[in-house]
């Protein structure tokens, strides 16, 4: 099958959607399909052979922050050329509502179009204003995919219609086979002597995410830390992610600051080893999550998970069966649950066990097959993707369009 994938965000900037598209493309190439990814990228960025650059994304203020988007005459022309040269059986557009390549591709193409909705942002003012334009473009999508039941619900509420839920994929074995790193493990885990207890009790708690992004929830974890350390003084908190480290520990009493270790940005391999090493992974995110891929990664690596009870997280954790949930933004509840889990190796082993069974449904072998099912459903009996001549409107209708 010839598959065209449209990525709305810059390939140069690492992000969840970009990683998802990279893994998806590589999975399909591995199965012998022909894949081309159209993505915004700087001209001097080295790109994998399957990525076609749609030009540099321009930073513009959009929806309350500065977003790097592709639009305008040149980008539209590149999209049309890519569609024309690719002769795809199906195109898969990610985030079709962002005013970037996704929307442009939607306008320019006809034929089997699959779209994945990643975010579940509350409806923005811009989207209401552009509703009529958006609706006309979104009507062309033959199959909509939402990454979680929560994302599907917001999609149905805001845009109408329906979508199938296919979660984001993770290479489970990559995480499951990673080698733990002794300096990230607790003493008990290193010597594999279970138990502990008493005043010497400790354990390592892991957190991955932007330090200076409050929605990732590090401040909540910092508020809970004194109580955790009071109960288990040898606990260490390991934080991986970008941001201002000094600012992050400001609210913490000076004598406790040494219990927090910052690792900075870590690579994929290090992330897997990190998750294999910690005794407890905490995801205190306060909102803005539509899926929670990090929880799936943590479960793949066999880390017991404690997460805030966001809708998306509750779903990934099977309503609390595959990992524990605490009341969102409640530092006391987080501290109580963390202390209880660190003191109970039996419960952690149980979570580890359940997590690694539960997580199989997020493996690429399952998720990729489901996405391929969607492709096959929409291409059955339909013509291949082509540039939509009706989209040029006036010229075509008056017979003035050039070939």
């Amino acid at each position: 099958m010839r598959i065209g994938i449209v990525c709305p965000y810059s390939w140069d900037v690492p992000g969840g959607v970009q990683f998802h598209i990279r893994d998806l493309a590589e999975y399909f190439i591995g199965l012998g399909h022909e894949v081309s990814v159209l993505a915004p990228a700087d001209d001097d960025t080295p790109l994998p052979p399957y990525v076609v650059s749609a030009g540099r994304a321009v930073p513009v203020p959009y929806n309350g922050s500065v977003a790097r988007l592709n639009f305008g005459f040149l980008s539209a022309a590149r999209v049309r050329r890519w569609l024309h040269e690719g002769r795809f059986d199906v195109i898969h557009i990610h985030e079709p509502t962002s005013p970037s390549l996704g929307l442009l591709a939607c306008w320019a193409a006809q034929g089997p179009i699959v779209a994945t909705f990643h975010t579940s942002n509350p409806r923005s003012r811009a989207m209401i204003a552009a509703y009529a334009i958006l609706q006309a473009a979104l009507e062309k999508i033959s199959a909509r995919v939402a990454v979680s039941e929560y994302a599907r619900r917001t999609l149905v509420e805001h845009l109408g219609g329906d979508a199938v839920v296919i979660p984001n994929g993770v290479d489970v074995d990559f995480f499951a086979r990673a080698e733990p790193r002794p300096e990230w493990q607790s003493e008990e885990a290193r010597s594999s002597v279970e138990g502990g207890g008493g005043r010497r009790a400790g354990g390592t708690i892991g957190f991955i995410g932007r330090i200076d992004e409050p929605r990732k929830g590090l401040p909540v974890l910092m508020r809970a830390l004194p109580a955790i350390l009071a109960a288990r003084p040898h606990t260490r908190l390991l934080v991986a992610g970008r941001g201002d480290e000094k600012e992050a520990v400001e609210g913490l009493p000076a004598e406790l600051r040494s219990r927090v270790e910052f690792l900075g940005m870590i690579s994929d391999e290090e992330k897997a080893r990190f998750l294999r090493s910690v005794d407890l992974y905490v995801a205190p995110n306060t909102g803005g999550e539509s899926f929670g891929i990090i929880l799936v990664e943590a479960m793949s690596a066999g880390a017991p998970v404690l997460a805030s009870d966001l809708d998306a997280f509750a779903q990934v954790l099977d309503q609390g069966k595959a990992g524990e949930l605490f009341t969102n933004e409640d530092a006391d509840a987080l501290a109580e649950a963390a202390v209880r889990l660190l003191a109970d190796p039996g419960r952690r082993a149980e979570l580890r066990e359940r997590g690694s069974t539960h997580v199989r449904r997020f493996d690429w072998s399952t998720v990729g097959a489901d996405i391929l099912s969607v492709y096959e459903t929409v291409t059955a009996g339909a013509a291949a993707v082509a540039t939509d001549e009706r989209a040029t409107g006036l010229r075509a209708r008056l017979g003035l369009a050039r070939d």
Partner: protein, 180 residues
């Protein structure tokens, strides 16, 4: 006098273009519904065929075989207005037979059973998918057709009002379990 006339003319042309664009949109939606309906038909037929194959293969016990054969046969032969009911009954029959994981294991162990089990799993996953895509297209076309401009100017022409396909398509638990 002439400028007014020109403005009226411009306005008329603009309205005409807008209506023509809307008619194009509607046309595209109807084409999408046709494609989605064809895909749904194909998936339903595939599911009924695999079920029938399984029922006549002798892998299952006689009672289960008869139940599945009856349901699959009825689903394939149903008249258009009976189809939703017949396909729902096939879903129920499949759920009754494949309620336990052991039953699926039994099919897998038979010669060629691995293949059949995979085909059936795929079919029961794809029917709800195809149905959702179909009903999504129907919903979009309905919303547009209920709009004043479409009703007043009869932009939909003689195309029949699109109907969604309503059925019970819940897959059997033993086949839908993704964690295995």
């Amino acid at each position: 006098m002439t400028p007014t006339l020109i403005w009226i003319l411009v306005a008329l042309v603009a309205v005409g273009l807008y209506l023509s664009w809307t008619a194009g949109r509607l046309d595209r939606l109807h084409a999408r519904i046709d494609a989605a309906r064809a895909a749904l038909d194909a998936q339903l037929l595939r599911r009924a065929s695999v079920t029938q194959e399984l029922a006549t293969s002798g892998v299952l016990d006689p009672a289960a075989s008869i139940v599945l054969y009856e349901a699959a046969h009825a689903a394939r032969q149903a008249e258009e207005d009976q189809r939703e009911v017949a396909e729902s009954e096939l879903s129920q029959a499949l759920r009754a037979v494949f309620a336990e994981v052991q039953q699926v294991e039994e099919v897998r162990e038979a010669p060629g059973g691995e293949e059949t089990a995979r085909e059936l799993t795929e079919a029961v996953r794809r029917v709800p998918m195809a149905r959702r895509f179909h009903n999504d297209a129907v919903g979009a076309a309905r919303r547009l057709r209920e709009h004043r401009k479409v009703r007043w100017f009869r932009l939909a022409g003689h195309a029949p009002f699109p109907m969604s396909f309503e059925m019970d398509d819940e897959p059997p638990a033993a086949l839908a379990d993704r964690s295995a």
